[in-house]
Symmetry: C2
Amino acid sequence: MKDLHGTKVTLEEVAQAAGVSRATASRVLTSDPRVSPDARRAVERAASKLGYVPNQAGRALATGRSDAIALVVFEPTTLLFGDPFFPRLIRGLGDVLTSRDMQLILLAPQSAPDSDRVERYVAAGHVDGALLVSLPTSHTLPGRLASRGIPLVIGGRPTEPDRFNYVDVDNVAGAAHAVAHLVAGGRRAIATVTGRKDVPAGQDRLRGYQEGLKTAGLPADDALIEAGDFTRDGGARAMRFLLIKRPRLDAVFVASDLMAVGVLQALAEAGRRVPEDVAVVGYDDDPMAAGLQPPLSSVRQPIEEMGREMARLLMDAVHSPDRPPRKVLLTTRLEVRFSSAPVAPKLTGEAL
Amino acid sequence: MKDLHGTKVTLEEVAQAAGVSRATASRVLTSDPRVSPDARRAVERAASKLGYVPNQAGRALATGRSDAIALVVFEPTTLLFGDPFFPRLIRGLGDVLTSRDMQLILLAPQSAPDSDRVERYVAAGHVDGALLVSLPTSHTLPGRLASRGIPLVIGGRPTEPDRFNYVDVDNVAGAAHAVAHLVAGGRRAIATVTGRKDVPAGQDRLRGYQEGLKTAGLPADDALIEAGDFTRDGGARAMRFLLIKRPRLDAVFVASDLMAVGVLQALAEAGRRVPEDVAVVGYDDDPMAAGLQPPLSSVRQPIEEMGREMARLLMDAVHSPDRPPRKVLLTTRLEVRFSSAPVAPKLTGEAL
DNA sequence: CCTTCATATGGGAGCGGTCCCACACTCTAG
DNA sequence: CTAGAGTGTGGGACCGCTCCCATATGAAGG
């Protein structure tokens, strides 16, 4: 009803209106128990009547905290917004943060100067800590922030795992599991479209692929490995190369579902049927995976859980800055769909 | 080289190290001209040696500004991240903001309490102003923020156009243009899949569709109008309804490209050829539009330009708070591709 | 009835900047 | 040689809040 056009209301005015001192008013607003019910009521009434909102700068200056954390994403804006990974991660973060009344601030440095800007932003005390995701290998930002004493949690395996808090999914096991599944389905010439090689997740999924082949006793063949870049078009391009180099491949493990879309498209163009001629397994279990033609088998990562763990770790780091770095490793689950159905049993087979 | 583990460096210390007063050091850091070259050099050396970063809270408290603005997006997180609109908008905003050393803070309220939280956040002085986009009709947030004297710019047409700064694209003209193009291609039974009716853009595109029909002298037919929700699946669903209600339609104007993907899918399922049987025109000119089968004609909005204009308007509003509200209207362009090719000329036609 | 203790409250010192104002000093002009 | 203007600098108030510390008040205990 009564709003006070533009005039910023201060705690002083609220205290005056409530007939108490600034200190008492402050206690009410910070939920300090040592206030009489009368005073509390009076302050609350005055605050809501005046439309009082505590000034962030004043509070931050006095407390040394900002009640906000940064999510720093090293990803071109277009990819950031294209990738379903982020909404899921943010949802997980939100689960933990909103309950503690913490703000999440998204920063997406696009260049080296941007990266410096992030450092200044964080060092200026805008936030109490930072979450770093899709960090390029051996980026210096974590080290620089750490040396300023900023609480940090990294998403994915950092270059120096012992120095930082981090949360990762077991990408190696996830990829190996996918390969084992393809082998179990009777596939023998299993190719892979990798992710970006400068991202640990990309490296680990490739390693898992290789380990999976080894476990199955299948030979390694570099011509069955083609680099992608986590984009749809990159996936299509890689698949076309693979088909030229190894026309007789019968399965592909793709390091992301987005790339798998491109892969399916390239296979369709080449007249290969999925899964009859070529089985495909993706990674991420994107919501669209089940809706593709054919429905795409995919390695599901517990991304929301990852967000929750990252937020928890950071909260701990903010509150006890001297605790040694911790790590959390989460496991994946393979969602089996039609794109990786087993090869039809040879009619010469034994059973049946 | 020398970093100072965790210790926050203050201006006082920099001044001391440079052998000047805090006031002089402050002048150097705020690029005040009234400093001797000697003092300037000394302060700059000291600051970089100590790794000094000005404390945001202190500065904000003293200046009353935060050098940040909020982009408030009323959109479920999943949509926000799926929609190519936002990276483009953000790029446009960035063009203007980075040159003025302003931070962009993304807020995506998902619920009514979230919306209150945004109000508090902005009112607390975290940001100097706010950009509001995809605001549901008659949402109260703009009014509430305005009554607190917060500089505001709205993306899209607000409910009370005279009260706020806003930037909009001429959705009516864009949609009418698309319809005119379909008419020129020989189509007569032109349907539409609308956007969300609670968003001005959705309303305006529908109105443009209706005006387009009227201009062409074609009858209005409510059965040719089906509501979508700006999602792919919503588009597919709407198209299926249209095909049941009006099997003989020969063109569809779809209020977004994402929905158009669903529309194309539904048409393919129904065995309709595009553009032979049904012409399709989308809206947004999503990067993927050209890559669809068939390549999709689409109304292109100058989204980056919209971002730039919004940022400029807000900067002006921040610096001169008493200026009356301004509006900027941007025009669209129709990208013609194969999905709306003209009907084959009847062989009984006159020419050739 | 006077201490002792718990509890509610106010005074006031910072937090780290900015910026107004006064001051010293140099330079020019009368 | 001195008044006046111009220039660089330091002192210190202030921004709005939190929180330590001292004080007032009332209840409990000897």
